[in-house]
């Protein structure tokens, strides 16, 4: 069923404004998506009617807030088809989810000489926590290389795997290039030698159907704000068998069963990993974002986004001086590029003058940019509320900008 995009656009108040005298065209969705009215209403509604601390008070408001909070956990479980909602941990973002695994799983299971594998495509938040861990533990960080199209080299990955490999932490979809990685293959290969796999799902959960049981990943990290939800909220999925044997990440309230000065016993999962008062309002509002996605249907969203990507490839491709970056066979609706002779920064500022919001720079993937021999790129990333006519307008602006250096 084709989606009614005009109707969808009406649900997003932020889209209806002018920027620098031009109607806003928001193509920075890989950085963060906009939020539908239902999410905004849920945020204010929570503070207006239900605000109270969860899992503690014996009063009606606390009970209501706790119920809604736990309903989102159930909603997330369904969204990624986890086996049970106790496998869903709320964090503050993909970054914290990865840090949680690196410090908790890492502390317990990684020792001197062990190996951690990541890829050239990683976001800094899936590089630095592992570097820190490896430095502390004297473990070895290995990096899967890519080809010039921005695709992981699976054969090379197999060569890197050894009996010393404890965890493979890999981005599902590249934020800088849009490449969809063959994660099912990677997970299968890693499991054959007994390594665990963490998927950085920051950019995949919004575009692809995710079934953690089918993928068989051990961990999945993602952020609500890239899924039409609020900022400051992330999710860590982990298999029960692992979460149970991992030590807590932070200490405090919520995560304990009993505290004496002599010894503390820890709560069950997921609470063991949720120390302190959590981000209650945003968790509750996130359910509305999940409802929004399921009301449209992920496959319908994907179809629309794929059409936008095709359209952009065709129309930008005709611009003199347009150089696409990342041309993997399997991609989501992200188009990274440069204009011959121009710095991506300058292109971004000029697009902004035309009301068009894109991301420019290294996209928190400096090692990837070094591999590609680039300082950075311009990145346009499309979401369900974007239209072909917006892409046409960007093509007109881009052609004008490109002409400065490409006569």
């Amino acid at each position: 069923m084709p989606l009614n995009i005009e109707k969808i656009r009406k649900m997003f108040p932020v889209l209806h404004q002018e920027v620098n005298g031009k109607p806003l065209i928001y193509f920075d969705n890989a950085a963060t998506t906009q939020k539908p009215q239902s999410v905004l209403d849920s945020l204010t509604g929570y503070y207006e009617h239900d605000n109270s601390n969860i899992h503690r008070g014996a009063h009606t408001l606390a009970d209501r807030a706790t119920r809604h909070y736990e309903e989102t956990r159930e909603g997330v479980k369904n969204f990624i088809n986890a086996n049970e909602s106790a496998e869903i941990i709320f964090t503050k973002g993909t970054t914290e989810s990865i840090n949680l695994v690196a410090s908790s799983f890492g502390r317990k299971f990684i020792t001197k000489g062990d190996e951690v594998i990541i890829s050239t495509l990683e976001h800094h938040s899936n590089i630095v926590p592992w570097q820190m861990l490896c430095e502390e533990k004297e473990a070895i960080l290995k990096v899967i290389p890519i080809n010039d199209k921005g695709e992981i080299l699976l054969d090379e990955f197999e060569n890197l795997l050894t009996e010393k490999t404890k965890i493979v932490s890999i981005v599902h979809v590249s934020n800088a290039l849009g490449t969809i990685n063959p994660v099912k293959e990677i997970i299968k290969k890693a499991h054959q030698i007994g390594a665990k796999v963490l998927l950085d799902g920051a950019q995949s959960t919004n575009h692809l159907d995710i079934d953690v049981q089918d993928l068989d990943c051990d961990f999945l990290a993602f952020s609500a704000h890239k899924l039409y939800g609020p900022t400051g909220l992330g999710i860590l999925y982990g298999k029960r068998s692992l979460l149970e044997i991992m030590p807590p990440y932070q200490g405090g309230g919520e995560m304990i069963k009993e505290v004496t000065f002599a010894k503390t016993t820890y709560n069950e999962i997921p609470f063991k990993f949720e120390a302190g008062t959590p981000n209650i309002a945003d968790v509750i509002a996130f359910q509305k974002a999940l409802d929004f996605i399921s009301s449209l249907g992920k496959s319908n969203i994907k179809r629309h986004e794929d059409e936008l990507l095709d359209h952009a490839n065709n129309s930008f491709g005709q611009i003199n001086g347009f150089v696409p970056v990342g041309t993997a066979a399997e991609k989501v609706s992200v188009i990274s590029f440069n204009i011959n002779g121009m710095h991506p920064f300058d292109v971004g500022v000029m697009l902004d003058a035309n009301g068009i919001a894109v991301r420019t720079g290294h996209h928190c993937t400096q090692p990837l940019m070094q591999r590609l021999g680039l300082e950075g790129t311009v990145r346009a990333s499309f979401s369900v509320y974007n239209t072909k006519s917006e892409i046409d307008q960007m093509a007109v602006s881009l052609a004008k900008i490109a002409k400065i250096k490409n006569k």
Binding site: N20, G21, F345, V349, M350, D352, A353
Partner: protein, 143 residues
């Protein structure tokens, strides 16, 4: 030679003609960048890169008759345009004049809105570095 204030007033006037249209303002800044004299390649050194700028900026100086000549370059055309404005105001002046200069044209032309906050920080870093050079020359001239 016109005073620092005269040149700033000229710049304010030029930008006033462009009005509120951000696009033409940016094209204008880039055009100015294109007119920046060529940077001496032997000075394109790590130690001449200004810290605190998002884009790369190289800055060096020459002393001529107790006056400072600034030479600069950047890998982005907009930043080059911004530098060329600073050079137009400050280059060829004595360290004392440079240290005293109140660069009010930047606020008056609304540069913050045109280039955004990140680049504004970069612009401040450039000004700081230019004034540091002036301070160093002043100290040298006073011995």
């Amino acid at each position: 030679m016109s005073s620092i204030q005269d040149i700033q007033d000229q710049i304010i006037e030029e930008f006033a003609i462009l009005g509120d249209d951000k696009e033409s303002t940016i094209y204008y800044i880039m055009e100015l960048g294109g007119q920046l004299p060529k940077f001496p390649e032997e000075e394109r050194l790590e130690e001449n890169i200004i810290k605190g700028c998002q884009s790369k900026v190289w800055l060096t100086t020459r002393e001529e008759d107790d006056r400072i000549q600034y030479l600069a370059d950047s890998n982005t055309d907009i930043t080059k345009g911004l530098i060329s404005l600073l050079i137009r105001v400050l280059s060829g002046r004595t360290p004392q004049e440079i240290l005293k200069a109140d660069l009010d044209f930047i606020d008056k032309i609304g540069m913050g809105n045109i280039i955004g906050s990140q680049r504004s920080n970069g612009l401040s870093a450039m000004i700081k570095q230019m004034k540091l050079y002036a301070l160093a020359y002043q100290a040298k001239q006073n011995v």
